[in-house]
Symmetry: C2
C-alpha cells in the first residue's frame, strides 16, 4: 500500500541562529515494501539538541543532515505492514527515523518495544538514549559518591533532569541550574533536587553557587557550557569530575563564542573533564535500561515529558529547545 | 657559627606583568643550630614557572609567598654543619629552601642525594620534581601507546623536553611546540622529537599542526595553554587525552585572558582532560626516579639544563622563564 506522507526537510543550513525557516514541509510517498522492510506509522518524535549541530555541514560523530532531505531522529511508531520476519502489524517499534508521518525502514534498523507496562514515549526518554546518556555520563564519568555535591546545568532538560535524579538516588547533594522559577520549583518539589539556581533571574550566579554549594562541587554534569560553566569552575573541589555532555548554549550560532580561560583551575584542583557520547556504551544499554526501569517502578525516578501534538509542531518543538520551553523530554505526538 | 647571607624576598605582589622589581635583595643571618637542624650552603637553585603563581595572594595547592619574606623553591646544597643525626657536613642535600646563600633547615625537610654518579642538578631536574612531573603526567594521564601522536607544548622547557623524550621512548610520533628555531632544532636533532613547530615564526599554527600531525593528535601534553592549545583542539582524535600540566602563557598577568570556547570538540571526540599536581604521586616517586635514572644511563634521556651563575642572577632567571630564555631546566648556580 502507498501512503502519502508529510515530511520535514532541511531547506537551508542555518547561518547564525537556527529558525523554523531553515526547515520546510515536503510530500514523500512511501512505496511498496521490499523484502525485510517495514512500514511504520510514526507516533512520537524525539526532539533533541544535537539535531541542531547536524544542520551544520561539519564533520562530527554523526553525519550532517543532507539538504532537501528529511531530518532524522529517534522516533517511536506502529508497524502497519511488514516484510521483515521479526515485525508484525500493530507492534510498537523505535529507531532513528525520518521526520515523516509514514516511513519505510529496513527491519534491522528497528527495535521492538519490549512488552512493558510503560508508555512508548519512555523509549525515547528515560529508557531511550536520553536516560542512557544521563546514566552513563553521571555514573561512569561523574562517579558520584554519597555525600558529594553534584551540580547539573540544563537541569530541567531531558538529560539533566534524569542525571540530577540519579545523583539524588546516589545520596548526593544535588544542585540544578535552570532557566525559570517554574523549572526550579519543579526540580526541588517534584524531582527531589537539594537546591537550584535560576540563572536568568539573578546576575551573579557565582554568588548563588557559593550559597547552594557550601562544600564546593565534586561533580559537574554539564549540558550547557558557556558562562554557567565558567561560574562552576570556581567552586570545583580537589579531584572533581566534569561530565561534558552538551554545550547547548553555544550550538545555535555560527559565531565562535569566547570566554575566560579557566583551565588552570583544573590543574590546581586536579580536575578531570571528559567528553562522551552515549553510543560508546552500546554494549551496556541493556544493563542501564534495566536499572532505570527499576528506579522508575520503585518511584525513585520521574520521567517528565513535554509533549506537543501535531506533526506540524515539530519545527517549533526543535527551536523551543534553545529558548528553554520544555521541561524534561521534548516529544511531538502525531 | 653565624653566616651572613643574601636573600631574595618578595617586595611586592605583581599587578599585571611580573618583573624583577617585585623582588628585592635582603640580608639574613643564620643563627646557631637548634637540635635536629642543619646548616646548608645552597649551591643550585631550581627556577620554575609555578613560582610566579605563588606571588599572587590566591589560594592554590601551595601557599602564596609572604611579602618581605624570601622566595622558596627547590634547591640543592652542601651541609656545612648539622645537629640532625641523618646529616653530616659535606653531604649533598635537596629540599624546598629559601632563596638564600646559607639556610638553616630542620633535617626532616631535607633529602640526602643518593650516592649516584650524576650531577646534583639532576635532582632538581630530570630526577627531581621536573622529571617526575613529566613522567607521571605523560604516562599516567596521557597513557601514550606506541604509534600514537603526542604533541607537547612548551616542549623545550624543563618538563616538556622530558615528556617529549619519554613519548619518543614509548614509540610515539612526538611533536614539540617551542618558541625559536634554535629550540626546535635542538628538539629534533638532540632529543629525537619527530617534528616541531616554532609558534613564533609563523602565524598559522593550525596549518602547521595539520602538516606535522597527519594522523591527528592522541595525547596533548600541555604546559602553556592559550592560543597554542586552541589550535591543538582542532586535531584531537577520538579518545584523545589532554594532560593539563601548566598554563604558562596565562600566568604572568592579572588579566583574565579570554579565548574561544572549544569544549564541544571534547564531546565530539570523547576527549579526557585531566589537571594534575606531581605531589599527588608522592608514593611512587622512587619507582619513577629509578626508571628515569635507567633511561639516563642508557642514553635514552638527555637532561638539558640552562645554568646561570651567581646568586644575583636569580630574579632574571625567573623572569626569563616567561620570555622563553631557557632550554630545558633553568638553574642558578651559586
Amino acid at each position: 500500500m502507498i501512503h502519502k506522507s508529510r515530511a520535514i526537510i532541511l531547506k537551508s543550513r542555518p547561518s547564525g541562529q537556527f529558525s523554523t525557516e531553515n526547515l520546510a514541509f515536503a510530500d514523500k510517498s512511501t512505496g511498496p515494501l521490499a523484502p525485510d522492510e517495514v512500514l511504520v506509522q510514526t507516533k512520537f518524535f524525539s526532539v533533541d539538541p544535537y539535531m541542531r549541530n547536524r544542520m551544520n555541514d561539519v564533520k562530527s560523530y554523526v553525519e550532517p543532515y543532507a539538504l532537501e532531505q528529511p531530518i532524522t531522529g529517534d522516533a517511536a511508531g506502529l508497524v502497519l505492514e511488514s516484510r521483515a520476519p521479526d515485525f508484525k502489524p500493530d507492534e510498537w517499534v523505535t529507531g532513528v527515523m525520518p521526520w515523516q508521518e509514514y516511513t519505510v525502514m529496513p527491519g534491522r534498523y528497528l527495535h521492538k518495544i519490549a512488552d512493558r507496562d510503560v508508555s512508548p514515549t519512555l523509549y525515547l526518554g528515560l529508557l531511550g538514549l536520553t536516560g542512557l546518556t544521563a546514566y552513563f555520563g553521571l555514573l561512569d564519568i561523574g562517579k558520584p559518591v554519597s555525600g558529594e555535591t553534584v551540580v547539573v546545568s540544563g537541569a530541567a532538560g531531558a538529560v539533566g533532569s534524569i542525571a540530577g535524579q540519579i545523583a539524588r538516588i546516589k545520596g548526593c547533594h544535588t544542585i540544578g541550574i535552570a532557566g525559570s522559577d517554574e523549572k526550579c520549583s519543579y526540580l526541588t518539589e517534584k524531582l527531589g533536587f537539594s537546591g537550584t539556581i535560576n540563572y536568568k533571574s539573578r546576575p551573579n550566579i557565582r554568588k548563588q553557587l557559593r550559597g547552594v554549594c557550601p562544600a564546593g562541587v565534586d561533580v559537574y554534569f554539564d549540558n550547557v557550557g558557556g558562562e554557567i560553566s565558567d561560574s562552576v569552575m570556581f567552586y570545583l573541589n580537589n579531584f572533581a569530575r566534569i561530565v561534558l555532555c552538551g554545550q547547548i548554549s553555544l550550538y545555535d550560532t555560527n559565531r565562535l563564542f569566547t570566554g575566560p580561560r579557566l583551565l588552570a583551575q583544573m590543574i590546581i584542583h586536579r580536575v578531570q573533564m571528559q567528553g562522551f557520547i552515549v553510543y560508546d556504551y552500546r554494549e551496556r544499554y541493556a544493563e542501564a535500561r534495566e536499572q532505570l526501569y527499576r528506579w522508575l517502578k520503585e518511584g525513585k525516578l520521574i520521567s517528565q515529558e513535554t509533549i506537543l501534538e501535531g506533526f506540524e509542531k515539530l519545527p517549533q518543538a526543535l527551536t523551543g529547545l534553545f529558548t528553554g520551553e520544555n521541561i524534561g523530554k521534548q516529544i511531538v505526538k502525531v
